[in-house]
Assembly symmetry: C2
């Protein structure tokens, strides 16, 4: 069904039947493939066997895939998707009017589920594969809390136990996020904690640390590898997570096709890269094949600028330096963003596919300090009626800047951005912004140098 | 377009074109009309002129209407609706499976907008009429905070100033609700406050009161009637609010018609009655016309049981006893629910149309203590993936009870309930429930007698 000559509605919904039946992996379309994950001891490419103590078998084959473009979505996962997907593609008529721009702005809104973000797309898939394998409990980390919430929901739905290591500063900023996870039956532990050896070691070295995703990952992995029938799951960074998130891009592509809409610019916020990677996947494939000339922009916080100021190098995914090595843009596994950084997007590295694309010039990056982000968030909330997550607001800010550039140049470009979620559990940060007490922290070169000093020596 | 022979999807969405063009008023279909609103001084039926110092002209004609069944939705309001409506009608497949019931359960979900509830449907309409009349500022009260949030959003969108009197105990329980309203530019004042004469009087009599909707209404009305170019708006109880909320029922009716679904039981939570009245309007009309035999159930908290234990009498809408008199089921304007009552649904009275229908036996009522409500909420969250508002959970609890009765009797009934909103700003209450510290408060007959003692003497 196409509606090419019809007026474009405020929200373009696909029907349940149009929900994608396959996820899409961009790697087969890449000429320069991302470098392989390396074993931290041998520095040899990781095998499936290397990953089995930590990850579920179902996602390992997806993680190591480089040849299959389409991977079937299991029926039980599709049925769960039907509770909150297809998600709406929204034409931002009110924002366009408020900006007075000739640009056409669209956003794919992933915040209509209780986890408040796109994270649920991968959570349900990962818990499904765990359960299929007979795993009875899972561990994970969470920063801003969206991933932990999503995973709690998926675990409650499929009846799998869950232990969440939550970055301490986030658990203090967001006590209600913790309460949501607990309502869904998860056990939530502020990290670093004394429940793991690596947590105790970090606490000894830095007793006052607010924690970091890197610390929390180390703790969760330690528990997964030392508990029978338990595995670790991760909400971003890895390639199988981007694969699951491709449902965002595939739905967007199908919705746009209905009205013959072609984006000129696609914008997404980037922490570990899962939302951005998922949103752009089918569109980037067209660019790589030379079929469409689209600009892609990754937007990150100035306080954790992995792309903008990071190095393209092999690095660990965690502070404890226990994970496989990933070739990525990174600030070093020892980098911890300042505690006054309010939202998520606090991971020190970036997904390897996106890193390669950035390195090869297919992807641009922008970094903003947080007051500008919240200013954009408030403007968006007042005209589009959705109070956005701070993470998502990075994409809003860049989209507004692009739309204003179109206004200056009189260009009618089509801008698409990912609105990954809602800010209902981020009100402490909004209060600080409203009060004028939210600080714009940007790390100095000296501070970044400390992070880079933790990069491991890897011969390539 | 009908899909009568197709499988019913998880979510039935209408298209933007199918969004109702008119609201529906049930009163023309009622044989026994609700008793007219009376002037508090003369005890004569209120005229439009009587109401003009308090309310906007556009809603006064709607409030006093008894003859027009369909009233056009202004285009600007319909365009705003398009940002978050039509809302989904959801088939609760997962809940049905978890309960093992042969019943078919549907819910109309009004929580997909940032206000988190159905309240936005009337907020935008009321602000539209205010702006049309040249009003520059509005006042209102809010209890649980959903109405205040909705009105803040509507006022931000249309550029009208707003002062919200928030029940003090709610503002303490929900500081982040306040922050959302402030992000949308509203001024939020915990009530009772020293900013009004009636507030000061109440504080003098009860310095430690946690406030009530009745108090907050008195304060908001005082400000509206003493400030130039200012009016008061109310989020429930009144007939024009039910009129605006009929968009819920009309969409539900249209979505059900697509699949030839006929509800046997319709359930809604009831505080002032706006959601329940809006949801049932077109279905109740069919019952009144003898076309369909549907059961209707109003669900209220045992701590504020207006229907179940109230009196059918003329009463004030506010504690300060300044409003017109409404014939309704009421606990008396002096009744204040215990502070440990966690959610909304704390108004002492009930809309006059619903009161008349209840009095005439067209509507049943049930009351539940709050731990049972939260138990149902948690069960629903874990299988349907939506963390519900405590208010909405009253309807969930009654729907589960009906579904379990169907299971016992082997009946395949179709149950419809209104899921008015999400509980993302109610986590303090969820935490209390999770911790086992949420108390089940039920007022004694002696406590209710104190409320009844505040009923005004009115000759009928």
């Amino acid at each position: 069904m196409t509606n090419k000559n019809q007026a474009i509605p405020y929200k373009i919904f696909l029907t349940e039947d149009e929900l994608p039946k396959h996820w899409f992996d961009l790697r087969p379309d890449m000429k320069n493939k991302p470098a392989p994950m390396l074993h931290p001891g041998t520095h040899q490419p990781c095998t499936a066997q290397d990953l089995q103590p930590v990850f579920c078998d179902g996602v390992i084959s997806q993680e190591l895939n480089t040849t299959e473009s389409f991977i079937e979505i299991p029926e039980e996962v599709r049925n769960f998707y039907k509770m909150y997907r297809p998600s709406p593609l929204v034409r931002a008529y009110c924002l366009e009017k408020a900006l007075g721009t000739p640009a056409k702005i669209y956003y794919k809104f992933e915040g209509t589920n209780t986890s408040g973000s796109h994270k649920l797309n991968s959570a349900i898939a990962q818990v499904y594969y765990a359960k299929e394998q007979g795993i009875t409990s899972l561990t994970t980390e969470t920063g801003a809390g969206q991933w932990g919430t999503a995973l709690s929901m998926a675990c409650a739905y499929l009846g799998v136990d869950l232990k969440v290591y939550m970055v301490k500063v986030s658990s203090q900023q967001k006590p209600y996020r913790k309460a949501v996870m607990e309502t869904y039956g998860a056990q939530v532990i502020p990290s670093p904690s004394d429940t793991t050896a690596v947590g105790r070691k970090i606490l000894e070295a830095m007793p006052d640390t607010g924690g970091s995703l890197g610390c929390a990952i180390s703790e969760a992995i330690e528990v997964a590898t030392t508990t029978p029938n338990c595995r670790y799951v991760l909400g971003s960074v890895l390639n199988h997570v981007l694969l699951h998130q491709s449902v965002i891009g595939l739905e967007t592509e199908a919705a746009m096709a209905k009205y013959d809409i072609h984006p000129d610019v696609i914008i997404g916020c980037a922490g570990g890269g899962s939302n951005l990677g998922g949103l752009i996947a089918p569109f980037m494939a067209k660019k790589l094949r030379g079929e469409e000339n689209i600009r892609f922009i990754a937007v990150e916080p100035a306080s954790c600028p992995s792309f903008s100021r990071g190095r393209f190098a092999y690095d660990f995914g965690d502070t404890g330096q226990t994970t496989p090595l990933i070739k990525m843009y990174t600030l070093g596994s020892g980098f911890i963003p300042a505690p006054n950084h309010a939202g998520g997007l606090r991971f020190h590295g970036m997904n390897s596919v996106l890193s390669q694309l950035y390195h090869d010039g297919f992807l641009e990056a922008k970094a903003y300090p947080q007051n500008e982000i919240f200013e954009a968030a408030r403007q968006f909330a007042r005209c589009e009626g959705i109070l956005p997550a701070p993470e998502s607001s990075h994409a809003i800010k860049a989209a507004i800047d692009e739309a204003m550039a179109c206004k200056e140049r009189g260009e009618e470009k089509t801008i698409l951005f990912g609105l990954t979620g809602t800010g209902y559990f981020d009100m402490a940060a909004y209060m600080a912004f409203n009060d004028g007490t939210l600080s714009d922290y940007i790390p100095t070169d000296e501070e970044l140098a400390k992070g880079f000093a933790t990069l491991p020596p890897v011969k390539e």
